[in-house]
């Protein structure tokens, strides 16, 4: 009797842990039944494309959240990186533009972490406000830099083959952006779960005071998480504008909330300490599938906001239940 009960309990907690997988399967089946177009080749390609930029940003966000912080500046970072990178293709060539774009993401992340460290802000709420402020700053810089205008690929006469490949090329069966995702996922997963720095980030997120008093350099962890997040936001920005072949200075709007949603839905706790980039992949998949399915079912985009919000609430509620 007792054993049966505990087996049931373990089963229930496992189900709760991987609820997101069940939900994904459920979503696929239901949508495929109601709308057979869902499984068509063109729709799957569509899903893959939607997946691209969001997964990059969300992977970076995962580290910030595991470290016990949050980063709302990714939208601003995406705006800035996108307009700067696209504008440099013509004068500098595409490879220097690409590298400068990525470096700019790292600079934004570093700046965030320096501000957080120097103000002594050690709570998620403080980080939320600081990075929210920085998002506006980065967005403003993007607007100033681009004079508010959108830049298009067709205005660029120099070679832009690299970006075209990122936007629409294939390597064998997979799209180039998907291969980039796989490579980055592998690197980030190894960093998170196999390295001393990854461990330090988890411990920092678990209990900053205890980590510091055990001789762990939490300032180093904080710099690392924001640098990773800034870098991944830059990668996301490049994948995004390469796909749509234009870069407006407001291109990144909404990515911060979608990324946080994906990370939390995936099962990384907002309290910090526990989580994984692999979970985030599932979270992003769910978010993308959900919006694709709602699109196919003809649900208005206003209604979709409400659904997204409800899912986030549900994920946080579930997370709190797990902790208790």
């Amino acid at each position: 009797m007792e054993e049966k009960k505990s087996v049931l309990k373990a089963g229930a907690s496992m189900l709760r842990d991987y609820l997101v997988l069940v939900m994904i399967a459920f979503l696929v089946v239901i949508t495929a039944i109601i709308e057979p177009k869902f499984l068509s080749g063109s729709n799957l390609v569509n899903i893959m494309r939607q997946f691209g930029p969001l997964i990059m940003v969300s992977l970076g966000m995962t580290f910030v959240i595991i470290g016990g912080f949050i980063d709302l500046s990714v939208a601003g970072t995406i705006n800035l990186v996108a307009v700067v990178t696209i504008s440099l293709i013509q004068p500098l060539g595409q490879l220097p533009a690409l590298l400068i774009g990525l470096a700019l993401g790292i600079v934004c992340g570093t700046l965030n972490s320096i501000l957080i460290l120097s103000s002594g802000a050690l709570t998620q709420a403080e980080a939320l406000f600081i990075t929210f402020g920085m998002s506006t700053v980065y967005s403003a810089l993007a607007l100033l830099y681009s004079h508010g205008s959108t830049m298009h690929f067709w205005d660029i006469s120099a070679s832009k083959s690299v970006f075209e490949a990122i936007g629409g090329g294939n390597i064998g069966f997979f799209s180039v952006s998907f291969v980039i995702f796989l490579v980055l996922l592998a690197i980030l997963w190894i960093f998170q779960s196999k390295t001393a720095d990854g461990r330090a980030i988890c411990l920092t997120g678990g209990n900053k005071t205890a980590a510091r008093l055990s001789g762990i350099q939490i300032s180093r962890s904080i710099v690392e998480i924001y640098v990773i997040c800034g870098f991944m936001a830059a990668v996301g920005a490049i994948v995004l504008f390469s796909r749509i072949t234009t870069a407006a200075p407001v291109i990144g709007a909404g990515y911060e909330t979608s990324a946080i949603l994906a990370v939390v839905v995936g099962g990384t706790t907002l309290k910090g300490g526990k989580g994984s980039v692999l979970r985030t992949v599932m979270g992003v998949l769910l978010v993308v599938l959900m919006s694709n399915c709602l699109d196919l079912l003809g649900v208005s985009s206003y209604m979709q906001y409400a659904v997204k919000g409800a899912i986030l609430m549900f994920a946080i509620w579930l997370d709190n239940r797990k902790q208790a």
């Binding site: 373990a10 001393a196 461990r199 411990l203 209990n207 205890a210 980590a211 001789g215 762990i216």
Partner: protein
């Protein structure tokens, strides 16, 4: 039993509760008579807290019955049980620091009190009733621990509580404050209120309680009137074996000077300088807030301090943060185990290994098998009781949690081990094990700086003590040869002097 008022305010029958891997309570039965003070003693992990949390509705029982004031209590919530007249005052008091005393007492019930004026008037009445003169408009953050406790008791009374549970109420009280607490307990009893008094401190149990229950390993071992227990019997029942001494002998082989600290000055500390020798236990004695913790935090680099000098083996070392301190050979047990020491949701393994990460890392990569060995070895050599090294440290008892922190540092063999309240909230058996460990560390040539609010502990363990009063060192004594009252008066700032 079916009379209007049974003689028991609370009857617990065959209550069981399991957590994953642990049977916390095993068919526990307990009756609390009306108008008595009922003591519950037991080691940490004996099930006292679990039982209390079931009573208050924080946890739900798996089986058994609970009858409170003639009513069967099944599913309850903390709020419901308060309304029913069962109040718990937790060790870590549950008040809102940024609100006033009156607001705290009637938190969420301002409308019932007809606004702020009514709230403060009624709060004043309740506090006066228990002989407290705290102003009801004062902020809780400005109160002393004992004043906060008064506020908690007043809050309990505001619910017309019939039973008040006090969980380790004395753990951060000074001796004068204890006298106050004793007075209040007597008063409450006179008003017909029953009290469950949970404590590790046998002196208090014998002073306050009428009836004593002993818990061990999730069972109630024995319940008897206090007068029928002897002190030794109580200890034996608690730990299930006899111990001859409360303290081991002091370490004997004190060597050369190991650490020299020169002039720590901060807002709270004034020109603090001292030395410590190899193999020595140095005790810091002083009131809570005298600056003992600030001294060791400054030394360990946990707080920013400038201008002081630290020499280890005669060589100056520069400590800017805890990592520098660790690299220089310091170990540190912080005063607050849960919030400063442990990463509670993490495993025993990662909690033990967190100070020695470089030792199982190669080229930046963690070697899992080495880490596992390190943790398993500490669990074994310190006999930490845990189902496995992968268990969340949160599920361990206080003593075993503390041993995890000790093990964390032993792994890097620190030269100077700072221990701030190493035995707070842990039971007699585990305390003795920690003392033995301290002695071992010292005898291997390590030095220990010991802070404790329990004077007998510092005096019996230390080779030498420094008294701290208002941020200054007011005296240096050899406790083996100095009467305790002389040390105490130096710690109270009454007389200074060397011995």
């Amino acid at each position: 039993m079916d009379t209007v008022q049974s003689e028991y305010i609370l009857s617990i029958k065959d209550v069981s509760k399991s957590f994953p891997g642990v049977r916390a309570l095993d068919r526990v039965s307990l009756d609390v008579r009306r108008g008595t003070v009922h003591g519950i003693v037991g080691e940490n992990g004996a099930g006292k807290s679990t039982l209390m949390k079931i009573l208050s509705g924080v946890y739900q029982k798996d089986s058994g019955t609970i009858i409170f004031d003639g009513q069967i209590i099944d599913h309850t919530t903390p709020h419901e049980s308060m309304k029913r007249g069962l109040a718990i005052i937790y060790q870590e008091l549950n008040l809102v620091n940024t609100m006033s005393v009156g607001e705290n007492i009637f938190l969420g019930r301002f409308r019932e009190m007809k606004g702020m004026r009514g709230t403060h008037a009624k709060a004043k009445e309740l506090l006066e009733n228990i002989g407290s003169k705290v102003s009801t408009t004062k902020l809780v953050s400005d109160l002393s621990v004992s004043e906060k406790q008064m506020v908690e008791i007043a809050k309990a009374l505001s619910f017309k509580s019939k039973l008040i549970i006090m969980d380790e109420p004395s753990s951060s009280l000074t001796s004068e404050e204890m006298v106050e607490l004793a007075k209040i307990i007597r008063q409450l009893k006179e008003q017909g209120i029953s009290i469950i008094y949970i404590s590790h401190k046998l002196d208090e149990i014998f002073e306050f309680c009428d009836i004593v229950s002993v818990m061990r390993d999730g069972h109630v071992i024995d319940t008897k009137p206090k007068s029928e227990f002897t002190r030794n019997e109580l200890i034996m029942k608690m730990i299930g074996r006899t111990i001859e001494n409360e303290y081991p002998e002091r370490p004997r082989n004190v060597g050369d000077t190991l650490l020299e600290v020169r002039s720590i000055n901060t807002r709270k500390l004034h020109d603090v300088s001292f030395t410590i020798r190899k193999g020595e236990i140095l005790g810091l004695v002083g009131l809570v807030g005298a600056g003992r913790t600030e001294i060791v935090r400054a030394l360990f680099g946990a707080d920013k301090v400038r201008g002081h000098k630290v020499l280890i083996d005669g060589k100056p070392v520069h400590i800017r943060n805890p990592k520098d301190a660790k690299d220089a050979g310091f170990g540190f047990i912080p005063e607050d185990r849960k919030f400063q020491g442990l990463v509670l949701p993490f495993s025993v393994e990662s909690n033990i290994s967190m100070a020695s990460i470089p030792r199982f890392t190669k080229f930046g990569f963690i070697r899992k098998s080495l880490e596992k060995n390190i943790a398993a070895q500490q669990v074994k050599s310190l006999s930490i009781k845990t189902p496995s090294t992968r268990t969340a440290v949160n599920n361990l008892s206080g003593g075993n949690q503390q041993k995890c922190i000790v093990g964390r540092w032993l792994e890097i063999s620190p030269k100077i081990f700072i221990m701030d309240e190493p035995t707070r909230g842990i039971d007699v058996g585990a305390k003795y094990e920690i003392y033995t460990l301290m002695k071992e560390i010292a005898e291997k040539g390590g030095a220990i700086i010991l802070i404790s609010s329990e004077l007998p502990e510092v005096l019996n363990m230390s080779n030498r003590v420094l008294t701290i009063f208002e941020g200054r060192i007011t005296g240096e004594f050899i406790p083996e040869t100095t009467p305790a009252d002389r040390i105490m008066s130096a710690a109270l700032g009454i007389v200074g002097g060397e011995s």
